[in-house]
C-alpha cells in the first residue's frame, strides 16, 4: 500500500468518525457518560476536523447530522472564515451556500441561539451579517419572532445591525418592531395584531390566547389562570410537539376524549418516544391507534425504499442502558422501536423478523430492562437466514461480553464466506472516550443514528465504514449528497 492511499484511508476514517459523532452526540448526558465529557470530546472532534478537513467539515452540513452539531459547525465556520482561503477559491462560496441551506432547516430558536453565540465570540463580519440578514428576511413574520424570540431578535438586530424587514413584506412596519423591541411602552398601540396582543396581555386575560404558547404561559401564571383551562383554550396556538406534551394536562389522553393530537402526522422517532412514555395499560388500550400511527409513519419514512430490502432480520437492544439519561430519556430505545417499524416497512412483505435482547416479542410493550445478551440474539436472528441483518444497539454487549463480535466474526469467516447476508450496526450513543460510536466487531460496518427515519441513508454511509473505502469514493458520495441538499433548498424555491 502506498503512503498516499494509506493516508487516504485514515482521512476517510476520520471523516466517518466525525459524521458518526455529529449524528449521535448532542452534548447531553448519556447513560454512561456525563454531559461535560460528551461536550469536551465533541469540542476536540470539531476542531480537529475543521482544521484538517475543512471541506468535509462544511460538507457534513448536508448530511443527517443533528441540529446541535449543525449549529456548531455553522458557528465554527463563521468564526474561522479567514482559514477558508487556504482551501481554494470557491471554498468560501460553497460554505456560504451550505450554511444558508442548513439555517433554513434549523428550528428558529437554534438559529437565535447561534446569533447569541456569534455575538459572544465577537464575530460580526460582512459575510456573517449577509448570511444572517438573508435568514432573517426569509422568516415569515418577524412580529411573531419579536414576541416569541424577543431576546434573540433583539441581539440580532443590535449586534449585527440587521434591518428588521422581511423580504415578503409581511409583518409589522420596521418602526413599530423597533419600538416594540427597544422602547416598549412608547406606543399606545401597535398595528400588528400579535405585538398588540402582547401589549394587551399584560392586563387583559383574553389577549393571551392570541399569543404563542410559550409566551402565553408566562402571562397565564401572572393572571393566575388555571392550568387545565389554559392548556385547553390555548391549544390552537400550540405547535404540534407542544400539544402532544401538554395533552395529558388538558385531559385529552383520557378514555373517550375527543381532542387529541393527530398522531398520523408525527415523525417516526417522535412517535416511538411518545408511545414509550405511556404506561403499559394505556399502550395496551390504545394498541390499534399507536401501532397504526407507527406503521404509517414508517411507511412514509421508507418512501421509495418500501418493500425493497428483501428478507430482513433486526436485533434490537432493549437492555437497561437503552433508557438513555435524564436528558435523553429512552432515546436509544425509541430509536430501536422506530427502527423496528421502519425495517418492517422496508422488508419484503412478510419477511421481517425482530429479536429484542430481552427476548420480548411485543414491540409496543418494550421497556428498558435487563442485560444485553447480543451474541445469543444474533445467532437467533441469523437462523432466520436474512438478506440483511440490522443491529440497533449501543454496542455494550455484556452477557457475555464480546460474544456478539465473535459470533459475527465466525459467521463471516466460516459460515457466510459468500457474503449472502449484509450486516449493519446502527448505534444511537456516542462514546465520548473513543471519539466514535462503539463497534461490535471490526468486520461489521457501524454508523451513528439519531432518528430512526434516517436509517436507510445511514446504512448507506455505514458501508464506507468497513475500512476499505478511500477518501475519493467518500468525497464523491458527499458531493452527491451536497448537490441534492442544495438543490432541494435553492431549486425548490427556498428563497
Amino acid at each position: 500500500m502506498t503512503e498516499e492511499t494509506c493516508s487516504d484511508l485514515i482521512a476517510a476514517e476520520d471523516v466517518l468518525l466525525f459524521v458518526n459523532a455529529a449524528v449521535t452526540s448532542t452534548g447531553q448526558r448519556e447513560f454512561r457518560s456525563e454531559a461535560h465529557r460528551q461536550r469536551l470530546s465533541l469540542d476536540f472532534l470539531h476542531e480537529y476536523v475543521r482544521v484538517n478537513y475543512r471541506t468535509v467539515y462544511a460538507a457534513s452540513l448536508a448530511l443527517d447530522i443533528n441540529d446541535h452539531n449543525a449549529a456548531r459547525i455553522v458557528e465554527q465556520l463563521l468564526r474561522t472564515a479567514g482559514e477558508a482561503g487556504e482551501w481554494g477559491q470557491d471554498q468560501k462560496r460553497a460554505e456560504g451556500r451550505l450554511i444558508a441551506a442548513r439555517l433554513a432547516l434549523l428550528p428558529p430558536q437554534r438559529v437565535y441561539r447561534l446569533f447569541r453565540a456569534l455575538r459572544a465570540a465577537k464575530v460580526s463580519n460582512r459575510r456573517t451579517r449577509a448570511i444572517l440578514r438573508d435568514w432573517l428576511a426569509a422568516r415569515p413574520d418577524l412580529g411573531h419572532d419579536a414576541v416569541k424570540y424577543r431576546d434573540g431578535l433583539k441581539t440580532a438586530a443590535r449586534h449585527f445591525h440587521l434591518p428588521l424587514k422581511s423580504a415578503t413584506g409581511a409583518g409589522p412596519a420596521a418602526g413599530e418592531l423597533g419600538d416594540f423591541l427597544f422602547a416598549p411602552g412608547v406606543r399606545p398601540r401597535y398595528e400588528h395584531g400579535l405585538l398588540d396582543a402582547h401589549r394587551r396581555a399584560h392586563y387583559e386575560q383574553g389577549a393571551l390566547y392570541e399569543l404563542p404558547f410559550t409566551v402565553a404561559e408566562g402571562f397565564a401564571a401572572k393572571h393566575g389562570v388555571k392550568r387545565s383551562a389554559f392548556v385547553e383554550r390555548i391549544a390552537p396556538r400550540m405547535t404540534r410537539h407542544e400539544r402532544l406534551r401538554t395533552q395529558r394536562e388538558s385531559g385529552a389522553d383520557q378514555k373517550g376524549a375527543a381532542v387529541r393530537t393527530d398522531l398520523s402526522v408525527m415523525p417516526l422517532t417522535r412517535l416511538a418516544l411518545y408511545a414509550l412514555s405511556l404506561p403499559v395499560e394505556e399502550r395496551i388500550r390504545r394498541r390499534a391507534e399507536l401501532t397504526g400511527a407507527l406503521r404509517r409513519a414508517a411507511r412514509r419514512a421508507a418512501g421509495a425504499y418500501a418493500g425493497t430490502w428483501g428478507r430482513v432480520a433486526a436485533v434490537l437492544d432493549d437492555s437497561y442502558s437503552s433508557s438513555g439519561s435524564g436528558e435523553k430519556r429512552r432515546r436509544p430505545l425509541g430509536v430501536a422501536l422506530g427502527g423496528h417499524f421502519l425495517l418492517e416497512a422496508l422488508a419484503a412483505p412478510g419477511s421481517y423478523g425482530a429479536w429484542w435482547t430481552s427476548g420480548r416479542t411485543d414491540p409496543l410493550l418494550v421497556r428498558p430492562h435487563g442485560p444485553t445478551p447480543l451474541g445469543t440474539r444474533l445467532v437467533d436472528a441469523l437462523e432466520y437466514a436474512p438478506d440483511r441483518l440490522v443491529i440497533v444497539s449501543d454496542g455494550w454487549d455484556n452477557a457475555p461480553p464480546g460474544l456478539a463480535g465473535e459470533v459475527l466474526r465466525v459467521w463471516r469467516t466460516r459460515l457466510d464466506r459468500e457474503r449472502r447476508t449484509t450486516v449493519v450496526h446502527l448505534n444511537p450513543v456516542y462514546d465520548a472516550d473513543d471519539f466514535d460510536v462503539r463497534r461490535l466487531a471490526a468486520s461489521v460496518p457501524t454508523a451513528g443514528i439519531r432518528d430512526a427515519e434516517d436509517l436507510p441513508a445511514l446504512a448507506e454511509i455505514a458501508q464506507f465504514a468497513e475500512g476499505r473505502t478511500g477518501l475519493a469514493e467518500l468525497q464523491a458520495y458527499l458531493d452527491r449528497r451536497i448537490e441534492n441538499f442544495l438543490h432541494r433548498y435553492e431549486g425548490g424555491g427556498g428563497r
Binding site: 447513560f31 454512561r32 437492555s319 437497561y320 442502558s321 430481552s358 430492562h369 435487563g370 442485560p371 444485553t372 451474541g375 445469543t376 445467532v379 441469523l382 437462523e383 455484556n398 452477557a399 457475555p400 461480553p401 464480546g402 460474544l403 463480535g405 465473535e406 459470533v407 466474526r409 465466525v410 459467521w411 469467516t413 466460516r414 459460515l415
Partner: protein
C-alpha cells in the same frame, strides 16, 4: 456447617466499569417464605452510657426480614408527602429487633425482625476474644484483666467513598431473576450480597453504596487500574460448520466463565471454612454470623452474616472483606487465646520470641493490655 452453600445461585457474566467488576447471581426461583425489605432511618440513635458519656449512632438503613410468607409490597418504601423534619434523636437501635407483623396488631406470632446490615458481622469480629486474658499471667495489666478489650473500634469506608463504585452500580444492568451480586474492586472480592427474592434485590441494589467496605477496597478503588473484560472467545471457528455449532460454542463460553469464576475468582469466599454462630431463628430460617480462620498465608478473608433455609442453602448473605491489618489482629488474638494468653507459648507456636509478640500486640493497638 463450615462453608457457604451457593446451590441454586447461578453465576452470570460479569459487567465491568473501570476498576469495578460486578458479577450477578441469578436464582431460577426465589426462596419461598422469606422476604427482605429496606427500612430507612432518618435519625440518630443515642444512649446515655453514664453521665457525660453517650453512645451515638447513625445508621443509613436497616433490613426487615419477613418470614410470614405473605407477598407484600416493599415495606418502608412508600413515597411520603410529608417533609422530612431534620434529624431526631431516638433510643438506641438494637442489632436485631423483633417486629410485630402488622402495625397496631398486638399478640400473634412474630414474623418480622429488623437488623442492621453488616452490624452482626462486624459485631462478631469486634467481640472476638472480647473478654481479654482468661488467666492472669503477670504480663497483663489490671485493666486487661478487668475489662478485656473493651472498647475496640474498626474503621470502614462508606460505599459512596469507594471511587468508581457508584458509577459501576448505576450503569449495571440487573438480570431478570437476579438475587445477588459479587463486587470486585481491582479484582479483589470486596463484598458478596445475596437476597431471597429478585424484587428485593431490585429494591436493595442501591443500598450497596451505603454499606461498609474495608480500607483495602477503598485503596484499590483509588489506585487500581481499569480491569479488562473477560471476553468470549470462539477461536478460529474450525469446528463450527453450522449455526447450531455456533450456538453450542457460545453456550460453552458461558459455562467456561461460570466454572472459572467459581474456582478462581470466588475461591477465597467459597473455599474457606468459617466458624458460624447462630444469632436468631426465624421459623425454618436461621440467621448466622461467621468469622474466617484468620490465616495469614491465604488471600482475602471475609466476615459476614447469613440467613439459611432448613437445608443450609443461602437465602441472605452479606460479607465484608477484612483489611490485612484486621486479619493480623484477628490472627494474633486467636493465637493468644489458643495458648491461654501465655506469651512464651504463643511465641513458640508462632515460631518467634516473646519480645516480638509484645511488639506485635503494641503494633496491633492492644498496648493497653500489657503492663
Amino acid at each position: 456447617m463450615t462453608g457457604l452453600d451457593f446451590t441454586r445461585l447461578t453465576v452470570c457474566p460479569a459487567q465491568v466499569w473501570g476498576g469495578v467488576r460486578l458479577v450477578p447471581l441469578v436464582r431460577e426461583e426465589p426462596v419461598p417464605g422469606l422476604r427482605l425489605h429496606r427500612e430507612v432511618y432518618d435519625r440518630f440513635g443515642e444512649v446515655l452510657v453514664s453521665p457525660g458519656i453517650g453512645y451515638v449512632s447513625y445508621i443509613p438503613h436497616g433490613l426487615v426480614a419477613d418470614w410470614s410468607g405473605e407477598q407484600s409490597a416493599s415495606y418502608g418504601t412508600q413515597l411520603d408527602t410529608a417533609r422530612p423534619t431534620g434529624m431526631a434523636v431516638v433510643r438506641h437501635h438494637r442489632m436485631v429487633k423483633r417486629r410485630p407483623s402488622k402495625k397496631g396488631q398486638q399478640g400473634g406470632a412474630v414474623t418480622r425482625c429488623r437488623f442492621l446490615p453488616l452490624h452482626l458481622a462486624m459485631e462478631g469480629y469486634l467481640a472476638l476474644h472480647f473478654g481479654g486474658p482468661a488467666i492472669a499471667w503477670n504480663q497483663w495489666s489490671q485493666e486487661a484483666l478487668r475489662q478485656g478489650l473493651s472498647p475496640r473500634s474498626e474503621a470502614a469506608y462508606l460505599g459512596l467513598d469507594v471511587p468508581g463504585l457508584a458509577d459501576a452500580l448505576r450503569v449495571f444492568e440487573i438480570h431478570p431473576g437476579q438475587c445477588g451480586l459479587l463486587v470486585y474492586v481491582a479484582d479483589a472480592l470486596a463484598a458478596a450480597f445475596v437476597v431471597p427474592h429478585p424484587d428485593d434485590y431490585r429494591a436493595l441494589h442501591p443500598t450497596l453504596l451505603q454499606d461498609m467496605y474495608g480500607e483495602l477496597i477503598h485503596q484499590y478503588g483509588h489506585f487500581g487500574a481499569p480491569v479488562p473484560d473477560f471476553e468470549a472467545r470462539l477461536g478460529d471457528g474450525r469446528h463450527i460448520g453450522t449455526l447450531a455449532d455456533l450456538r453450542a460454542a457460545a453456550r460453552a463460553q458461558e459455562l467456561a466463565w461460570r466454572e472459572s469464576h467459581d474456582s478462581v475468582m470466588a475461591r477465597e469466599l467459597l473455599g474457606t471454612s468459617y466458624s458460624f454462630e447462630r444469632v436468631y431463628r426465624m421459623a425454618s430460617f436461621d440467621m448466622y454470623r461467621f468469622l474466617p480462620p484468620f490465616r495469614l498465608d491465604s488471600g482475602g478473608q471475609h466476615i459476614g452474616e447469613l440467613i439459611t433455609d432448613h437445608k443450609g442453602r443461602t437465602a441472605y448473605l452479606k460479607t465484608f472483606r477484612l483489611a490485612p491489618a484486621q486479619i493480623r489482629r484477628g490472627h494474633l488474638l486467636n493465637s493468644l487465646a489458643d495458648n491461654d494468653w501465655h506469651l512464651r507459648r504463643t511465641a513458640e507456636q508462632l515460631g518467634t520470641t516473646p519480645e516480638e509478640i509484645v511488639r506485635r500486640i503494641r503494633a496491633a493497638g492492644f498496648g493497653a493490655l500489657l503492663k
